[in-house]
Symmetry: C6
Subunit: 200 residues, 6 copies
């Protein structure tokens, strides 16, 4: 059974996010974690999985490839952080298959470029996705929110306290692994709640 046995973090509304960070190696079977994410998503009632992707810029000057370095997946209660290997290995197909699912809507912030890069560099096509800023702009009639990052968007829509996130991100280079994981969890949770709010 997939156990989110990484650190847990308390959000400003007292809710609790359980995390798991995995360094994927060719032998790592991380599919049970994806299954639990999916399960949590389905039972939370709005079928949203918040995601973010991170790119390796090491090889960027060659322009030939922009490899995906890590992926964050968040639901109401869980946050999964996957660090990908440099080399393609067969188990990554579990992730590709997961992204292709139409059971759920993949929700992200400023993801337009990411979607292009996912297809160009890895042949990954997320078929069911939502650029949340664009939707929020239309739904709220405030054009500026289309262009905001996760924290500012959440700030506008939820008006909740983000001082913990600010504190970590302002000293990012000095932040430790757990702090960074907490920031990832907070951002995921913020977007999840923005989406939940917009649904109503």
């Amino acid at each position: 059974m997939a156990n989110f046995d990484g650190p847990g973090f308390s959000m400003v509304d007292e809710s609790w996010i359980q995390t798991k960070a995995i360094d994927i190696e060719p032998s790592t079977d991380f599919s049970p974690y994806l299954s639990r994410i999916l399960e949590d998503c389905v039972w939370n009632g709005n079928r949203a999985i918040v995601f973010d992707v991170y790119w390796d810029v090491e090889s960027v000057n060659t322009k030939s490839e922009r490899p995906l370095s890590s992926v964050k997946l968040s639901t109401k209660n869980l946050c999964l952080f996957l660090r990908l290997p440099n080399q393609f290995s067969d188990n990554l197909k579990d992730l590709y298959r997961f992204f292709a699912s139409k059971f759920v809507t993949f929700v992200g912030v400023q993801i337009e470029e990411d979607l292009v890069l996912l297809k160009e560099n890895h042949g990954i096509v997320i078929r069911s996705y939502l650029e949340i800023g664009k939707l929020a702009a239309v739904a709220r009639g405030t054009p500026i929110v289309e262009f905001l990052g996760a924290r500012e968007l959440a700030h506008k829509i939820l008006s909740c306290d983000t001082s913990r996130l600010d504190s970590i991100q302002s000293k990012w280079d000095e932040a430790g692994g757990d702090d960074r994981l907490e920031a990832a969890a907070i951002e995921g949770w913020l977007i999840y709640n923005v989406y939940d709010q917009l649904q109503q």
Copy 2:
């Protein structure tokens, strides 16, 4: 005569969906099933066939090809699930020809990427299609529904009970073949009814 002799499922409004799943081999003649789908569609009065396509990610890392692995076709009373072979065989042209028909409108959820992939990878051009979320968003004046998956879209438009679907999808990896077929049938039926509702 094409016999939908797979399991039948009862929907939440007591209607009944008869299914058929076919593993296509070079010698399989599945065209009578397509004819019956077409016939059922024409007589149901709104000329809609709900479809979904599934892609094989096995060869995705090569980026050169994304083969279609299966296709779902749903009308008011029927659900046909076709599993395609790895190799192209001549009888697949019956499916290609079916998709090209302008007798009917092919209705799907989040199909934009699928249409691109169908043309790029298989040279299939569906000429008469409808992205139902986009239409629902305009027709109902609620932008968010454009970005929802099948279940959430149906939930918003039809407000019907989807607990059976939730139950199967939340435990997808453990679900058996019949459960998965039932989920496919339910999703098809939901979208069919969303379309029917929007027509009025």
Copy 3:
């Protein structure tokens, strides 16, 4: 003189459509039929020719070519059905020249993909055309009609009886040549009348 000596069909409003189906061979001179279509179009007062094109999927798997297999042209009183040869022959230029005319507006249903394929595969450019569903959607303020096929569109705009068409199309595989020609004539006539209606 071009004689539309194929079967004639009575429409639901008692009007009469005279048809002609031609298998084009290198020596066939079908240009007088095009001239008569043009003449009928000009005198009918709205300068509309309804068209539909059909594609050969036999060679579709190679992706290199999608040959045009037949073309339907309809005016108020006439319906011409041209079956094209596999090989290009010089007389086809009469058809290409006809499509290039700006005397008339070529009216079709869900033709966007067809226009792309005509240019890509045959270098044919229809310069004056109308996607009638798109116009109907704007003119009537009902977005859904943009995505409908010919029969459903006509049903929405004209509310006329289409049972004869339904009857043929629901049993398409068993339909004989004359039945299929009648269906083609009915569809052409329906779209012609939709266009005529929208003009007013």
Copy 4:
């Protein structure tokens, strides 16, 4: 001095169009005719030159080239019809230079494809142009006029008698050279007047 010594035609409002048709050969100097068109355009007060282009479909099956076969240029009082040679000759640059002018607005009907073909096949870029149907649709709030040909558009905007044009175009294949020139002059005159009307 450029003499429009071709036949003159009387329009339905008693105005007179003087025409000139020229078969361009390498030694033909047609630039004085372009100068007179320009001059007439400038003094007519709205700086509009109506144009239409015609394509040779003889070589269309090779798809590599679609040569321009003739060009029509109309102002308030003049109509110039240029038949182009098969081979490029240096004097054609006078025409290219003329099209590049920003002194005037080149006005056409359904010209979108023509502009693409002019650039693709001849490197001609008309920098100042107007698709008149699109403008008329916006200016009059009637979407359908965007998609009409010259005659129908004029009919909707000007409500003038077009029976002479109808008479020629309905028997196009049997029409003589002067009749065709008259039809060209009438179409040019109609569009000129539509533009003039929309300006007010």
Copy 5:
């Protein structure tokens, strides 16, 4: 010090435009003239430089290259006309650098194609530009002005007397160098004033 010692022209409102025409050769240092244009622009309060570009059609049939033949730059008081050499020479980089400036907004009429050609043929990217007709159409709610040339646009927005311009342009082939320069100056001045007017 850059001296605009070409002919000066009086505009219809008694303002005065000082001109300079330069035939650029590899040794010509025209950058002081660009500096003075920039200076005049900054002090005129609206940071607008009106520009127009002219293309050489001599080599157009090869389709491989469309060289820029001359450039006009106008501010409130100055008009600079640069004739470019056939061969690239190092001093042209001063012009490229000038176009790249974001200090100012480059204002033009029907410039969409020109911007494409500048990038395609010379690698020049104007980053801060304004298609003035498009803006005028929105600002004034009159769609037609989007498609007008400089003179007609000015006529609609400023309603000023353009008889001098008309007089030169109607006899363009016979116009001398100074007359052409005056026409260039008048057009630049007209657009400058349109922009100034729209700012208010």
Copy 6:
């Protein structure tokens, strides 16, 4: 600790901008300066970093490459000006990584072309950005501001005194290094304040 020990400048509202200009060499570690920019941005409450990029036109005629020559980054209190080396060196990845951040929104004026060039020439993808003129045009209902440069945009939105900036930019070729840095700082500060204003 990253010390912005370049000249400081007083803005018209008495606020103070501390600057730092760095000539990047392969051994330069400028990442602490980026960290301080980030930190300042996070604590300023609106998560905006104003940026501008400058292109080297030296190699522009070859069309094969348009290298980035310098980058300006501004927050409420800081302005960092980075001059890039001709050759790619490994430390530039710190800049690429910085641009990829979604913590913040990168705000610029007329950046559309710049974003294209950054990807085409350097493989840099800024995922979270805002073209501020476009937003201002929508937010204020004044279409013209979309097309203005930094100074004019600020002038329209903030109505503040820009005489110091005007003074430097009007004599740009004669301006010294410190004056140019001051101009950069003023422009950055202006845009920062425009963004701040639009947020409210």
